[in-house]
Symmetry: C2
Subunit: 234 residues, 2 copies
């Protein structure tokens, strides 16, 4: 790149990324979002999505991954762009546009402990605090996107451990859609895809009888997808 650019009659703008990080608390059967206390003025100390300015030497995606990794320690997880928020007055301090990303991670016990390091916390969707700037709008959009995606693509599995049970998956989908689902039809439909491998083991935390473990067969899904096959969950 040139030091003296031919774009010099344009004026550069601050660019930030903000991450809507979803985690499913399997024990509590609740979908949660990771928030942290904003570190800079204005609105320092208020609850915020995790975010950062984009550095000149990193892509917006890299910036999002950097932040995600900083707050969760994770690097190889589901992460997708949501959209750009570009209103002029969205930040009272200066002109800043923000690219929102959303990601789906496993909210296990080690993960829960991590939050204390960064003034962060996991919140239930029904119980979110007021957020800075347009972050509430971002959360709303991210949730809508998650619902869409969960219907058309097997994204839900990113929120569960590698071994999960059908009741867990069922409860996750109910949490995502915020709707009661018929458990028998759900089971039939999800098994009919052939994308779940039944394991021999059981999880007995939920009942005396115990529920069989299953694993999502990602390679089979990719194969089907390449053949133009489309799946609809729920």
């Amino acid at each position: 790149m040139n030091t003296v650019t031919s774009y010099s009659n344009a004026k550069p703008i601050f660019v930030a990324v903000d991450n809507v990080i979803f985690g499913f608390d399997v024990a509590a059967e609740r979908l949660k979002i990771l928030l942290f206390k904003r570190q800079i003025e204005p609105f320092k100390g208020r609850w915020s999505l995790v975010g950062s300015f984009v550095k000149p030497e990193e892509s917006t995606l890299s910036a999002s991954m950097r932040i995600l990794s900083k707050f969760t320690g994770l690097s190889d997880v589901f992460l997708e762009q949501l959209r750009c928020y570009g209103a002029v007055d969205r930040d009272p301090e200066d002109r800043v546009i923000s690219i929102a990303y959303y990601s789906l991670i496993q909210l296990d016990e080690p993960q829960k402990k991590l939050v204390e390091v960064h003034n962060a916390a996991w919140f239930e969707l029904q119980d979110l605090p007021n957020l800075v700037l347009d972050h509430e709008h971002m959360v709303e959009d991210a949730l809508a996107r998650l619902k869409e995606n969960a219907r058309r693509r097997p994204v839900g599995f990113n929120l569960l451990p590698a071994k999960f049970t059908l009741p867990q998956l069922f409860k996750l989908y109910q949490e995502i859609y915020q709707l009661p689902i018929d458990d028998r039809n759900f089971r039939k439909k999800i098994l009919a895809t052939g994308l779940l491998n039944k394991l021999g083991t059981k999880d007995k935390s939920g009942s005396k009888k115990g529920a069989f473990h299953y694993a999502f067969d990602r390679s089979k899904y990719i194969e089907l997808e390449m053949q133009g096959y489309h799946i609809e969950f729920h």
Copy 2:
């Protein structure tokens, strides 16, 4: 906004918008995209999506509307954000991120004549020239988005005149999906929504018999949508 910002340790970035403008050529029965010859270096004179840098006093959406209006003369048309393209090296000249938008307009005769003013031209999808930067990627993404949207929302009507015929609508959907559709089932499904009002008049340009004019009932659609009703076309 402050002149001296507390964000001064961040470095601002050039922000552009690029528009993927779709038009349906009813006579030719072809979906087309508006391109123009880039005005600035690098790649001056090469085919490009219509775009511009975002000014400090306008939102990214406003910038997109400004460009759309400049090239088509239209202001109240379908326009939605596609996504942000934020790779570091997407522009060899300098760090520039671009927010892509896509819009759907009527490609009528007056519109076709407008293009000469701006070194612009309408291209068939199958016949696009090489485009600058990552604009081919943007077109690909916009087409994928149009397909998705056309299935779930009545966006197709934005590409047709207020009065259109069922054969025209049918051909538009075939063009969008790039697939042959059964015309009898299409007709049934689209009429079953109750969203098309049959007008008394006929369009005789396509046949001796002539095809009845229809109009899309937008207010009825909005009503249905608010009741949580979801429609699937095709």
